[in-house]
Amino acid sequence: MTPQPDAAQSGVATPVEYRSAMATTSIALEETPIIRLLLGWADDALILGHRLSEWTGHAPMLEEELALANIALDLIGQARLLYAHAGALSGHTEDQLAYLRDVPAWRNCLIMELPNGDFAFSIARLLLVSAVTDPFWQAATASSDATVAAIAAKAEKETAYHLRHAGEWLVRLGDGTAESHRRAQAALDTLWPYTGELFTTVDPGLVAAGVAPDPQALRQAWEASVAAILARATLVRPKDGWMQSGGRSGRHTEHLGFLLAEMQFLQRSYPGAAW
């Protein structure tokens, strides 16, 4: 990420300002409810965007390479706007929030950080996540927080593409060969216990104030679009059982540490390094 002007700050940060903001290996962050809420959304987008970016150079075909990189770019863009908004409230820059927090300070759902696995796993995850982010961003266009509403106005269009793209692929994989069907079903079965966390309750005050959509209210739309795709894909919806959680409160899988080690390496090894 390079310094970019945002709604709160004007002008491109100078290299001197950038170096001074980044010349530390970690930041202290006081998480008010709104900052915590924004970080949850931003971390979800950045971590999934980072995972998708790992497909660059490895996707099964050129068109898919472009598609996954484009989706990653959308998600990282959404994350940047959300970090800029959270940072304006907490007194940090978007890069400080992305690069100078360690594992326990990350608020993303665990499903985002799981390793990519095979193509079926990455596509099944993208479907399960997009099926909730699509109605989420649509609802967020009515947020009483003007910046959230403005971000949502762009994001809901982008996410609609992600949902359709993942859905079309999952139908092809599920309704494809015996091997692609087996892998798609195995991916769904593995991912399912991580889907409950997508509906984690958020601060009720922020829901009451109209800042945040109520995650519970998104469940019906999620169920409907997942069910429609799985039916076409001839895949079986796994049974709801024990659901894994912890990401929103900073208890992560071992995978996030490896991801952050790669993503944050430069800023942690060379604090304040700038182009």
Binding site: P5, S10, L66, E158
Partner: protein
């Protein structure tokens, strides 16, 4: 003409030279992302609205705006405004014509989900045939999808409706 109006028109003239680095046929005015030039004393604030959330060209465009102002001897900075959100409806008619002339199908009206999903197929920018098919929803940049013309068989980029 007042001094303020003069500064504003000089800034606008300087900004005529700033193009989208990914679609250099379009200026930021054509794209509709140049929203305003505010005069604050001796300096200007150029207000732009991002096209696509993750568009990597935006940082470059902000830099080029500051460079263009500096070249014209105008003090100024860039301010990004997120609301109202940019839509392809803000592309000027000149922009649509320039896109088509450079082989990129311009977007239709962005009013519906059908348009968003490209269900209203773009006409081939090369032979004008309406018989086209989508190859991929994601093209060479965030703002374009990849199509193929079934009449002249040429692949082409289409600007996505957003």
């Amino acid at each position: 003409m007042t001094g303020t109006g003069d500064l504003r028109s000089r800034a606008l003239a300087a900004l005529e030279t700033v193009v989208d680095p990914e679609i250099p046929t379009l200026t930021i005015g054509d794209l509709g992302i140049l929203r305003d030039v505010e005069v604050h004393g001796d300096a200007v604030a150029v207000v732009i609205t991002p096209t696509y959330t993750g568009c990597p060209a935006m940082a470059m465009i902000a830099l080029e705006i500051e460079t263009a102002l500096a070249r014209a001897g105008i003090a100024g900075h860039v301010r990004t405004s997120l609301a109202p959100a940019w839509t392809t409806d803000w592309l000027t008619d000149a922009a649509r014509a320039k896109l088509a002339a450079s082989g990129i199908a311009p977007p239709g009206p962005a009013g519906s989900r059908r348009a968003l999903f490209g269900e209203d197929r773009p006409a081939c920018p090369l032979c004008r045939s309406a018989d086209t098919e989508r190859i991929s929803e994601f093209g060479s940049t965030a703002c374009k999808a990849l199509y193929r013309c079934r009449a002249c068989r040429e692949p082409f980029d289409a600007f996505k409706c957003h």
